[in-house]
Each structure stands twice: as structure tokens, then as C-alpha cells.
């Protein structure tokens, strides 16, 4: 590990002033991803600005029925929050299906959004990786790419975005609030992460001097009836092969009146499945309509030899979750 300076910020403005003059500095949240990357020599910030003492750890109900979540709220606390569990159950589930209790106790909302890919070649300094070293090439294409993405990929990069929480947030249309010494911006979560294109090292819209201060959830009645489903290689403590965040509501005519769908484990960013949503909206709830919608969403998928199975698995998972939501709805 390279040596670095450490400083603890207790005031947002001070943290922002510091990062503005020191582009080599990074914010330290729970450290569960950044410290690993530093140990591996993949990131080497000159200064760590510890932000965990900043007063950004509250969860506030908004007058419109939405929720404002401080960027330093720990993943465990967010998952356990009664309003999240009641109004956005799939967000709570998504968080609880990620990592382990110990890690979730440390991990923060901001850090979770910005966690970096688990692509094996990103972690292996001896391999070519455009994300680590722009222009170096992508060894994953020819390598062991079972965990890599099929959606949103480019010639330059097929790395999966690993977050579970962000998949649910994408389905919710959450908004990320970011601040810098230049001011405050609001970025829709679905636009927050960037597709790799020819610049896979650029992963989000966040500028190097910006701090995530909060994530806001709009009121979303359909989310009260939602599921996050994660398909992985063992029962716990594994990243997703495929995950689906889904919320479904029916109109008086029995047709789908509202739907939210997002995918994880298969895409280079938290993947809002808008194509599928559009097909589902107004459709009858049936195996057919679910399968058609899922297939349409995955039509854009570009498989690699090791991960082609994910296309079918993703379709199956979408259908299974929607079926479950439908059965529960008609049962109740």
C-alpha cells in the first residue's frame, strides 16, 4: 500500500474546500471497498478525508411522502428503517442481500453507490484493464467472464456494477444530491452511473471535488409491493449472478397499472429495465407478457462465452419475480 495522509472532516464545507484544492484526495466512507482497493494497489489516493463524522447520517421523511437519506447512513441502518421496510421493501431487501452483516454495518450509502466493479481482471494488475488503465485493453473479453455484464457493455469494458442497493434505487427513481464548493446538484440515480463506452474509467457523473450528501426517494406507492430477488452461487455472501428489483401494481381492470423493474449482476450500471416496463404497462399479468417483456429487455444483451447463460437466467428471474408479485397481489 502506498503511504497516504489521513484527515478527519467534521464539517462539510471544510471537507469540500480540502478536496477542491487536493484532487488526489478521496473521501473515506466505511472503507469496505476503498481500503481493499488501496491494499491491492488499484487505487492510491494521496489523502483520505474521513467523512464518517460528518452530520449526514440522518433519515428524514419528506412532506410529500418521500424519504431523504443522508449519504453516511450505514447500509444496516437503512435496511432496518421502518419507513424503508414499509414503503420500499425491495430497497431493504436489496441491502440485506448484499455482503455480510459486518460489512453492512460499516458501509455507507455514498460508498455503496460508488463501489467499484468486482471484475477479476480489474483486480489483477497483471491483466489489461481499460478501467484501471485507459487504453490498456480488456482481458475479461477473452478470459473468465462468467461474472461480467451482458447489458450496457462496450468493446472497452464488460465490467458489472456490483451494487445491490443501487439496483433498487434505480427502480425507485432515487435522486442523488451532491455538493461541492461550487454548489449543490441533483442527479437522477439512473443517470448517475455512466455506461463504459470508450471511457470505462469514468464511472459516474460525480466530479472529483464533489461529495454525495444525500439520496432522495420520491413517494412511490407501487414500491410498497415490491421484491428484490438475487440469484447467486451460494446462499449468502456472494455477488449476484442476476438480480431483479421489481414493483408491480394493478388497475381496476386487472391490468398492470404501474411497474418498476431494474436488473443487477448483468449490466455495467444499475440497469433500469425501461423497455420491459413499457411493454408491461397496461398489459395483462401473464407468463407470456412477463416473458415477452423480459426478452425485449435482454434483446440488447451482448453475451460472452462465459456469461451467455445470464441472458436466459435474467429472463427467468424477471418472470419469476413478476409472477410472485402477481400471485401475492391476487391472493390478498
Amino acid at each position: 500500500m502506498k503511504t497516504f495522509n489521513y484527515l478527519r472532516a467534521t464539517d462539510v464545507d471544510v471537507a469540500l474546500q480540502r478536496i477542491a484544492v487536493e484532487p488526489g484526495a478521496r473521501f473515506l466512507g466505511g472503507g469496505t471497498n476503498l481500503v481493499d482497493l488501496m491494499r491491492e494497489g488499484i487505487e492510491a489516493p494521496e489523502t483520505l478525508i474521513d467523512i464518517t463524522r460528518l452530520p449526514l447520517d440522518g433519515i428524514e421523511e419528506l412532506p410529500d411522502g418521500g424519504l431523504r437519506i443522508g449519504a453516511l447512513v450505514r447500509n444496516s441502518d437503512l435496511a432496518a428503517h421502518p419507513v424503508v421496510r414499509g414503503r420500499y421493501p425491495f430497497l431493504s431487501q436489496a441491502i440485506l442481500l448484499g455482503a455480510t452483516g459486518q460489512i453492512r454495518n460499516m458501509a455507507t450509502v455514498g460508498g455503496n453507490l460508488l463501489q467499484r466493479t468486482r471484475c477479476l481482471y480489474f483486480y489483477d494488475e497483471a491483466s489489461a484493464c481499460n478501467k484501471r488503465e485507459p487504453g490498456a485493453g480488456c482481458a475479461a473479453r477473452e478470459g473468465f467472464n462468467r461474472g461480467n455484464a451482458v447489458l450496457g457493455t462496450s468493446d472497452a469494458c464488460v465490467a458489472t456494477h456490483p451494487s445491490d442497493m443501487a439496483v433498487a434505487l434505480a427502480a425507485i427513481d432515487a435522486v442523488v444530491e451532491v455538493r461541492s464548493s461550487r454548489g449543490t446538484r441533483h442527479i437522477p440515480l439512473t443517470e448517475f452511473h455512466l455506461l463504459p463506452g470508450t471511457t470505462p474509467h469514468l464511472e459516474s457523473q460525480l466530479e472529483s471535488d464533489e461529495l454525495i450528501t444525500a439520496v432522495e426517494l420520491p413517494p412511490l406507492p407501487v414500491a410498497a409491493h415490491s421484491y428484490y430477488r438475487k440469484v447467486r452461487d451460494r446462499a449468502s455472501y456472494a455477488f449476484a449472478l442476476v438480480s431483479v428489483a421489481a414493483a408491480l401494481d394493478f388497475g381496476a381492470d386487472g391490468r398492470i397499472a404501474d411497474v418498476r423493474l431494474a436488473l443487477g449482476g448483468v449490466a455495467t450500471k444499475p440497469w433500469r429495465a425501461r423497455t420491459a416496463e413499457q411493454l408491461l404497462l397496461g398489459a395483462a399479468a401473464s407468463e407470456d407478457s412477463f416473458a415477452t417483456a423480459a426478452a425485449a429487455e435482454l434483446a440488447a444483451a451482448v453475451p460472452l462465452p462465459g456469461n451467455a447463460f445470464k441472458i436466459d437466467l435474467a429472463c427467468r428471474t424477471v418472470v419469476a419475480v413478476l409472477r410472485r408479485l402477481t400471485t401475492e397481489r391476487s391472493g390478498s
Binding site: 497483471a126 452461487d233 446462499a235 449468502s236 449472478l241
Partner: protein
């Protein structure tokens, strides 16, 4: 044996509390990575990034120049033998002109801080000329071929089933990475504190490489955090010793998790072709098999693994005609060697898959077809060896079959495929049941001079009789320290027993491997206790020991035990051997190669979410004959742990190799079962004494690993109808 003392607490057949148990649970146990010496330096290793390359030059200038660096060594600094190896001396201490696998050590560094040592290693410039890598066993250089021929090679049968099976590269995945501390001694030698499986085989190799006589290389066992075969070969032993001798300072080396994946051998990946011929009523007529094992870059214990795969390769069945060829090849993959089950694991997956296939071709129940061919005492192995001890193969199968069926799910998500992943809530779930039975040899084979040494001292401490047991046997977590004390208590009727730390100041105990240590070191401790007892009785002309008294033939009390020992302590050292084994005929594979066989059977019940390809093993029932449960709790622990390791191989564990490069050297990417993946187990322990072994016991550690894999896979097949010819089985194989 006439005089085994009964009634003393904590003896053979009981489960006394183990001394390391509480410490480990509380996190207070000192593992080898916790070793510390004032003034010590830290070692680090530079490893090859290439699976195959010529080394044109090594420039250490920049590393040496780093402040805090005390030594940078390459192969030129190795004073003695430049290579070592368990069976074939072929592995360089540090690469000489060529590297043959990714992770091969090239240079070592000692510095005053671990980070400095790592940085210095990174500053070493190695000029590599990358060479093509051979990464397919079938394209490699043959290391050993073990043929077995019995009966008619051209036998024909009514019903024939064939199959090709593959087993991926499994890792031992112990939790305590390779580590140790080398301390230079005044006599020019070195004292090495080390987590290993066999102190004396390490001692010999280290001494040879250092160019020192064995007595100048003294090893003491440090706290071992699991082994499973991965500590049979050397890792940092020579490196740390070299650095200590060069710097005159103690040197500690601890591998990180990633480095650990390169620091030890793995289970041999295997490709296996089988043809089984049977009569219409299900009696096996012949088996033809070809097993190809990937040995990796250096020999390690590959030759013995191949012999096991061959000799145990048709399973615990009577087969009159066998054509078996097991071969292991050198490649540029990481060296493969010992891992729990040692060649028997791979073969069992294949032959048990074949037995299921045969059952279905015959329209028979899978257990039924096994019963019709089950070997028994007196059966002949394909090597011609007659199975002398108990071979309750049929009994084990019947026991697991007749256990009550696994309970229906309670609806708790944790019991469903995907577990808490919020996948199926019961819909789309299909249950399947599968069986597996396996055979394993215990202890070393093929004429190896297999022995263990024990020194036992009976003395008075504070006026009270006390026993000191001293062996070099490695406690690797299996509970061997406890077992040695139990045996001494039973044999000498003395409750107060201390087991000294294992080191090389006593003779070799052999390895804590091949399920052999309770048999071998247990046998040696028993024999040494018996010698002590004989000497004790001789002092006063007594006939036996009872209740702390020496008794005459007629049962009259001659003396108090304490008063007899009062004349001076009694100490005996015994080297103890099992019955000899013999080499295999190189052409026919005939020979009495093994000393004891052990058997276990498994029944696995799985629920499969056939829509998403997720498997939940809901229950495992197992039956195993252990001859004598010397420590029933430890026996159960071995069976639980071994079964879990077999489940891991069935469903998730594999080192992913791509062109000779390990792609998942971390516990984030190499998955082993968690507690949520392990089902409740029903363990049925049989005790059918082997007349030739101490207390009739049978090695316990490996059999549970062997048959759990095929049982789990058979259950998944039953639920899905998929062929599943490769392990680990993953979701895509089920839905694909």
C-alpha cells in the same frame, strides 16, 4: 493385551474437552501467523506472474537500495540442494532460469517491516522471456501412469454404460495462511516454528536445501489453522530459514490470502472416461476406466495421488474384470498434490455417477444396484488385494437408505433454494435424492516405510503420577492432542496427562494426512505406554495395573503406583509401524498396496429451484464405519467437516484457471459453503473393529469428503433430469 485400565476419566471412547477449543472460539489461540520475536525481520516473496517463462536476468539493485531491507536472495543464495520435493526432488527453492507456473517463487526479501519487504520485492526487476504454457493435462509430460489389469480385458456384458466426467480444481481453503518464524541459532543452525503437517519431512527438505545436517534444523509446530493436505509440501520454510541465516535475525513470513492461493498445491483436476458392463440383473462384469489428472508444474505427491485414483478407482464394488489407467501429467498449471481424499475423490464422482447411470439403464433402484455389487470382507480389489478388515458397504448403504426421509420444508426461506436471497418461496421447487458411497485407503501405501514415534514418560509431579506424551505429530485442528492424551490415560490409568508441543527432538510421526494419525501416532503412543507399563510392572514383579495400584497375578496389591514411580521416572520411546504394504506391479497394477480401507456412504436430499438453477441441500444422512470412535465428538466433527468440503466441490468450489493463470485467488471469488449452505446432518457411526489396528480403529478424516460430492450431484440429477457430468455444478448447468 491383558491389562488395559478401565474407569479412568477422559480415556479412549470419550470426548474430553480439547485444550484448543475454548481458545479458538474466543479468538485467543496463537496461530503460526501470531508468532513474534523481538528484533525480527519480515520476509516477502517475489513470484512469477507468468505460467511459463525463461528468466534472462534478475536485477535486485533497486530492492537492496531500499532503506530497511536486510537481504534479497535468489537461487544463487541457496547453499544446499536447489530443489526439493515430497516424492520427486524437482521443485526449485527459488526459480533457476525458468518459471513453470504462475506464482512460482523467484526471490525473497527480508526487511524491518512487512510493507517494506513487499515493496522491495516489487522493485526486483526480472527479465522474463514468456514461453508458451501447457495448460491441458492431455498435452503435458507424463509424470506417472498407473495401469491396473485384472481378469479378461475383452469381457463383454449385456448392459453397457459409458460416461466422461470432470472434476475442477478444488482448494483446501484453510483459514490460517502459510506462516512461520525462523530463528538463527548460535550453532549455525536454525530453529523454525511452523504450521505444517509433517515436521520431519520438512526438516529433511529444509536441511538439504540449507546444506546443514538435520540436527541443525530444528522444527517446532506452531498453531495450525487447517491443513487438508495443503501443508504437506514446503511453502516458506526454506525461504524464512535462508533469510534468517543470511541476516542473523529472526525472520517471520506470513502469506496473505491471495498469496496463499499460490503458496500451496490444490486438488488435481481430473477428466475421466468410464465404461461399466453389467449383466441384466445388475452384476458388474467389467469396468474400463481412464483417468487423466493435471499434476501442474511440479510433482508434489502426484504419483501417489495417481496410484490412489487407480487402485480405488472402481469403488467399493466387486468387479471381476478391470482395465484401469490413471495418469498424471506435468503442465504449467499450479502444482497439484495432497487434498483430503487424495485421488479417491475424483474417481468416486465418476464411478458413482456411473452406478446411477447403470441403475437407470437397468431400471433398478440406485441403492439396489450398489448392493448387488457391494464388496465385503474377503472381496478382492482390482489390485488382487483381499479386503481383510470389515467392509460393511451394504450395511452402510442400507442404513442411509432406511433413515427416515428428510422433513418437508417448514416454509422458512433459509431452507429453500437461494436461501435468504429471496428467490423461490416454494414454487418451482423439485426435490431429489441421491446416494454415494466411497472407499479410501488409510495411511501410506505401496511399500512406504510408514511409522510413527512416541515418547512417553511416567513420573511423579507433586507426588502425583503424571504422564508426558511427546510426539512430532501435527495437530492440524483434528483433535490429535486430545486423542494422544486419551490413549495415555487408558493405557496407564493416569488421568494427569500432558502432551508436549510437537517438535523434531523426538522421532518422526509421519504426516497428519491419509487419515492416518490416530492410527499411527495413536498406535505409537499406545505402544510406548505399554512399554512404560511393562517396565513399571517389572520393577516390582507386578502383573497388572488397577486403580492406581500394581497388582500381582492373583490380584493382590503389591504396591502403590506412586511409590513405584518414586524410584524414578519411567520413559520409553517406541517407533511403531503398521503392517507392511507392497508396491504395485508396474504392468498389471497387482499388489497389496494398502494397509486398511475405510468406507462411508451418503444420502443427500436436495431441493432445486429448477427455474433459476439454485440448489438447497436440505439434509445429508451419512453412515461411516470408524472401527472404534476413539473420540466420538471428534469423529462427528470430521464427518461434518468432510461432508461440507464434498458439498463445496459438488456445488461451488473451483479455482478458475485461464491459460495457466489463477483467476479467483480470494475468498470473495473462490466460494466455500457457508453455514446457510450446509444442511442438518444425521451421522450414523459404526464401530466394526479392524483386528490389525489400535483399538480396531479406522481412519476417519477423508471418507466423508469422498462420497458426499456424488451424493449431492446425484440428488440434483434426480431433481432436474440433467446429466451433470462436471463438478462443481452451477446454476447455468441446471437451467442451461
Amino acid at each position: 493385551m491383558t491389562t488395559v485400565e478401565a474407569g479412568v476419566a477422559g480415556g479412549v471412547g470419550t470426548s474430553p474437552k480439547r485444550p484448543d477449543g475454548g481458545l479458538k472460539v474466543r479468538g485467543e489461540f496463537a496461530f503460526s501467523s501470531d508468532l513474534w520475536a523481538d528484533d525480527m525481520l519480515w520476509g516477502a516473496t517475489l513470484r512469477s506472474p507468468h505460467p511459463h517463462a525463461r528468466i534472462r536476468g534478475i536485477d535486485i539493485t533497486a530492492a537492496v537500495a531500499l532503506p530497511g531491507v536486510y537481504a534479497v536472495l535468489t537461487h544463487e543464495d541457496v547453499p544446499g540442494a536447489k530443489r526439493y520435493g515430497l516424492e520427486i526432488v524437482d521443485q526449485p527453492v527459488l526459480a533457476m532460469g525458468e518459471v513453470k507456473y504462475q506464482g512460482e517463487p523467484v526471490a525473497v526479501v527480508a526487511a524491518d517491516h512487512p510493507e517494506t519487504a513487499r515493496r522491495a520485492a516489487a522493485r526486483i526487476v526480472v527479465d522474463y522471456e514468456v514461453l508458451p504454457a501447457v495448460t491441458e493435462a492431455s498435452l503435458g509430460v507424463l509424470l506417472r501412469h498407473v495401469p491396473i489389469r485384472t481378469g479378461d480385458p475383452d469381457a463383454t456384458a449385456d448392459v453397457v454404460v459409458t460416461g466422461e466426467y470432470q472434476v475442477g480444481m478444488q482448494d483446501q481453503a484453510f483459514l490460517g495462511p502459510e506462516s512461520g518464524l525462523a530463528v538463527p541459532a548460535e550453532d549455525g543452525g536454525v530453529d523454525l516454528y511452523i504450521a505444517t503437517q509433517w515436521l520431519h519431512v520438512d526438516q529433511k527438505q529444509v536441511a538439504d536445501c540449507l546444506g546443514l545436517p538435520a540436527e541443525k534444523v530444528r522444527l517446532t509446530l506452531a498453531g495450525v489453522g487447517g491443513a487438508f493436505g495443503a501443508r504437506e509440501d514446503l511453502s516458506m520454510q526454506v525461504h524464512a530459514s535462508l533469510l534468517a541465516l543470511h541476516t542473523g535475525r529472526p525472520v517471520k513470513m506470513v502469506y496473505g490470502r491471495e498469496e496463499s492461493f499460490f503458496g500451496h498445491v490444490h486438488r488435481h483436476p481430473a477428466t475421466m472416461w468410464y465404461e461399466h458392463g453389467a449383466t441384466r440383473d445388475g452384476k458388474l462384469v467389467y469396468v474400463k476406466a481412464k483417468i487423466v489428472l493435471d499434476g501442474g508444474a511440479y510433482a508434489s505427491s502426484s504419483t501417489a495421488v495417481a496410484a490412489n485414483a487407480a487402485t480405488l478407482g472402481i469403488g467399493p464394488y466387486e468387479v471381476p474384470n478391470v482395465v484401469m489407467d490413471a495418469s498424471v501429467y506435468y503442465t504449467n498449471n499450479p502444482p497439484c498434490g495432497a487434498m483430503r481424499g487424495f485421488g479417491a475423490v475424483q474417481a468416486c464422482f465418476a464411478y458413482e455417477s456411473q452406478m446411477d447411470k447403470l441403475a437407470s439403464a437397468l431400471g433398478l433402484d440406485p441403492v439396489e444396484v450398489r448392493l448387488r455389487n457391494a464388496m465385503t470382507t474377503g472381496s478382492r480389489m482390482p489390485t488382487g488385494q483381499i479386503v481383510e478388515g470389515p467392509a460393511p458397504v451394504a450395511d452402510l448403504l442400507i442404513r442411509v437408505r432406511s433413515a427416515p426421509p428428510a422433513p418437508e420444508g417448514s416454509g422458512d426461506l433459509r431452507e429453500m433454494p437461494g436461501g435468504v436471497s429471496n428467490t423461490t418461496h416454494g414454487e418451482g421447487v423439485v426435490r431429489g435424492i441421491g446416494y454415494g458411497i466411497g472407499i479410501k485407503n488409510v495411511a501410506f501405501s505401496e511399500g512406504f516405510d510408514d511409522y510413527a514415534t512416541a515418547r512417553v514418560r511416567l513420573e511423579l509431579i507433586g507426588g502425583e503420577p503424571a504422564v508426558l506424551v511427546h510426539t512430532a505429530a501435527a495437530e492440524v485442528g483434528q483433535g490429535l492432542v486430545t486423542v494422544q492424551a486419551q490413549i495415555a490415560r487408558t493405557e496407564l490409568g493416569v488421568e494427569r496427562v500432558t502432551v508436549a508441543t510437537a517438535d523434531t527432538s523426538v522421532g518422526s510421526a509421519g504426516s497428519s494426512s491419509a487419515s492416518r494419525q490416530t492410527y499411527m501416532t495413536g498406535g505409537a503412543v499406545r505402544a510406548a505406554c505399554q512399554a512404560v507399563r511393562a517396565a513399571l510392572l517389572a520393577r516390582v514383579g507386578g502383573a497388572r495395573l488397577d486403580g492406581g495400584k500394581v497388582l500381582s497375578d492373583s490380584g493382590a496389591v503389591i504396591a502403590d503406583l506412586a511409590s513405584v514411580i518414586g524410584d524414578g521416572p519411567i520413559e520409553e520411546t517406541v517407533e511403531w509401524r503398521h503392517r507392511p504394504t507392497y508396491p504395485l506391479d508396474p504392468v498389471t497394477g497387482q499388489g497389496n498396496a494398502h494397509v486398511q480401507y475405510a468406507f462411508a456412504a451418503h444420502r443427500a436430499t436436495v431441493d432445486v429451484d429448477v427455474e433459476l438453477g439454485l440448489v438447497r441441500v436440505v439434509e445429508i444422512v451419512t453412515a461411516q464405519d470408524v472401527g472404534k470412535a476413539v473420540n466420538p465428538l471428534a469423529v462427528e466433527g470430521q464427518i461434518h467437516g468432510g461432508t461440507a468440503q464434498g458439498l463445496g466441490l459438488a456445488l461451488m468450489e473451483e479455482i478458475q484457471m485461464v491459460d495457466g493463470i489463477v483467476r479467483n485467488p480470494s475468498f470473495t471469488d473462490y466460494l466455500i459453503p457457508t453455514i446457510l449452505d450446509m444442511p442438518p446432518m444425521k451421522v450414523d457411526v459404526l464401530e466394526m473393529a479392524d483386528p490389525h489396528s489400535p483399538y480396531g480403529l479406522r481412519g476417519v478424516g477423508e471418507p466423508p469428503t469422498i462420497s458426499s460430492t456424488p451424493a449431492v450431484v446425484a440428488a440434483v440429477r434426480a431433481a432436474t433430469g440433467k446429466a451433470l457430468t462436471r463438478v462443481p455444478v452451477r446454476p447455468e448447468h441446471i437451467v442451461g
